[in-house]
Structure formats: C-alpha cells, structure tokens
C-alpha cells in the first residue's frame, strides 16, 4: 500500500466511523461553554426556570394549606399582633410582674433585680441595686445569684417591649434550678420614666 492509498483509507474511515459521543456530562459541559455567550440559551433556560418555579410554588402552597388544615398546634391565618399579645407570646410561659408591684417589692427591699442587657447599657444606667447577668452567663453565676438574692424576689429585665433577654435570662435560671424568676417587661425604660431610683457605673 502506498502512502497515498493509506491516506485515502484513513480519510474514509474518518468519514464512515461512527462518531463517538462524549459522555453526557462532558457533552453538557461542552455545550455549555460553546453556547454560553448566546443570550437565547439563557433566555430559554430562564423561561423553563420560571415554569418550574411556578410549579414548585403551587406544590408548596398546596402542601402548606393542607398541612395547616390537619395540624393540631396550628396558628391562625391572621394573628393578632398588638403589642400586648406579642409580649404575652414572647413571655413563653415565664411570669411577668407589673411595674408598681416591682417597685413595691423594691421599696421593701424584697426585690433582687437582674439586668439582662449588655455591659454598655448597664454602665449608662440601670435599676438601683441591679446586677448585670447576660443570659448566656447565667449558668456560671447561679450560686452567686442564689446567695445574693436570698429570700428576695428575683426580677429580670431588659429594655424595649420586644426585648427577649429578660425572658431568656429567666428561662436560663429556671434550667439551673432557680424558678419563680419574674420578668419586668420593658423594665429599664418604664422604671426610668416612672422616676424610680437608678444608678450608673460599672457592673
């Protein structure tokens, strides 16, 4: 066979040989790179995505609605979100104490206040005689709290009607065995505005 004949055969083979198909994942990648610049592919992709998204949304809606219909511990479709109901919900079962009650206890030296806010706020001002305990540190200071509180009513407070730190602190202490901690909701603002004794300074 001459060189030229060999070349012809080779060329024929190239033409007739079945084209080897790259594996699907490579094919996809090649296709992806080849067509990436083409706006149309993305447009089509986006259109398909919108359709799929709509379908997924409908499925979740159906599931959500059906589960809502059967679950026993459901919440109403429309809830009442007044400040009072929010505060009650955010108490999570912890007892709260009214401002006047708290002040009466304080006056008789029967209240032990725990400030659940941050050190900076505490430094700027806190209820007279209050001790700074950040909820995550509650566990470490249980024995000291118990000792210092004695038979006094422990009252945790934070600032703002929606601040949950007072409740968090009460719950953390409850876990450590100090129950009957009460929460003075929005304690700092209400106490200060009522003109009751406050202090400044480091913890």
């Amino acid at each position: 066979m001459t060189f030229q004949e060999g070349n012809v055969i080779r060329r024929q083979r190239e033409i007739t040989a079945p084209e080897e198909k790259p594996p699907y994942w490579k094919e996809a990648a090649i296709l992806n790179i080849q067509t990436m610049s083409k706006q149309k592919v993305f447009q089509e992709r986006f259109a398909a995505g919108v359709k799929q998204a709509a379908l997924l949304a409908i499925i979740s809606l159906a599931l959500g609605v059906s589960f809502q219909a059967v679950r026993s511990d459901k919440i109403p479709w429309v809830g009442s979100w007044t400040t009072l109901s929010v505060t009650t919900q955010s108490l999570q079962g912890v007892a709260d104490i009214s401002l006047s009650e708290a002040f009466a206890l304080y006056r008789d030296n029967r209240a032990f206040f725990l400030d659940a806010r941050d050190p900076w706020s505490f430094k700027e001002g806190h209820l007279a005689g209050a001790v700074l305990i950040e909820p995550p540190d509650a566990g470490k200071q249980v024995s000291e709290i118990r000792k210092r509180a004695g038979s006094r009513q422990i009252i945790a407070y934070c600032d703002g009607a929606e601040c949950h730190l007072g409740v968090d602190l009460a719950k953390a202490l409850e876990k450590q065995g100090i129950s009957s901690v009460k929460v003075l909701i929005n304690g700092w603002s209400r106490w200060r505005e009522a003109g009751y004794p406050i202090e400044k300074g480091n913890p």
């Binding site: 699907y24 994942w25 996809a28 990648a29 992806n32 790179i33 990436m36 993305f42 992709r45 986006f46 398909a48 995505g49 919108v50 359709k51 799929q52 998204a53 709509a54 379908l55 997924l56 949304a57 499925i59 979740s60 809606l61 599931l63 959500g64 609605v65 589960f67 809502q68 459901k74 919440i75 109403p76 479709w77 429309v78 809830g79 009442s80 979100w81 929010v86 919900q89 955010s90 999570q92 909820p135 703002g160 929606e162 601040c163 949950h164 409740v167 968090d168």
Partner: protein
C-alpha cells in the same frame, strides 16, 4: 486565566456542590420553621416589614416553599426553578436584613432557627445571605443537573 476562572465559575460540578449545600440548608431551615410556626411568626413580626395581616400567612407558607425548593435542589427536580425561587428569597432576605441593620433593631435572625435567643442580627448574617445568593445564582445560570433525578430517568 480569565477563561479558566470563567470555566470554573460556570462549572456544572460547582453547581452540583451548591445544589447540595443550598438544598440541605433549605430543608433544614424549612423543617425547623414548620415545627414552630409561632416562633417563626414572631421572628417575622420583629422584622417590622410585613403588615400584621400577612405575618401568619407568611409564617405558615414560607417554610413549605423552603422545604420544596430544598428538595428540588437536592434531588435536581426542576432545579432551575428551585434556584430561581432561592435567588428571589435570598434577595428578599438580604433586603430585610439590610433594612433592619440600618434601623439598628435588636432582633433574632429567624433564618435557620426560630429561637428568639439565637443572637441578634449583624452584618455577618447579611454576608452569609449574600454568599448563598451567589450560590443560587450560579445554580440558576449554569446547573447541568448532575446526579439529578431528571437525568437519571432520561438515561
């Protein structure tokens, strides 16, 4: 170099990794919220963005959307659609976080848990959200449905 970076960013293998990450996160977050609708409703309320009448509706339905797109991304069933919704959700979350970070509200994120004691939002949460947003965008643009149910059925 530029093409290499481009090829990496648009790599379908990367899409698969992102799909697994996003899918698992959405499943986890969604289930945690379905378990405690009241807690999640309180989280939404605290953001002070939705009108009162829509808070519970969102608290009831949004977790299911998260679970469904989580499954969609993880299994690769309509993953482009899942990524589209994920991108939209992350954009909305980014907006909500930014608004409240600027307002300086001391609220819990309510992102992956409904616990009020989960710590207050800070810029890290926004950064995390934006990273997830980029991941979902990548999946939306370049996913080739590796190891997907759709692909396995076709084969």
């Amino acid at each position: 170099m530029k093409t290499k970076i481009m090829a990496f960013c648009s790599s379908p293998v990367l899409s698969l990794a992102f799909r697994v990450i996003l899918g698992s996160l959405f499943l986890y977050a969604g289930i945690a919220k379905i378990v405690d609708p009241m807690g999640f409703a309180l989280s939404i309320y605290n953001y002070k963005l939705l009108p009162d009448g829509l808070i519970n509706v969102a608290a009831i339905l949004l977790p299911w959307l998260e679970v469904i797109i989580g499954g969609s991304l993880l299994l690769g069933i309509g993953a482009t659609g899942g990524a589209l919704i994920a991108t939209a959700l992350f954009s909305i979350f980014a907006g909500a976080l930014t608004i409240n970070l600027i307002r300086g509200l001391d609220i819990a994120c309510g992102c992956f848990s409904t616990a009020a004691s989960g710590g207050s939002i800070n810029w890290f949460y926004l950064l995390r959200d934006l990273s997830l947003l980029l991941m979902s965008l990548q999946v939306l643009l370049f996913d080739q449905a590796f190891f997907s149910v759709t692909r396995l059925r076709k084969k």
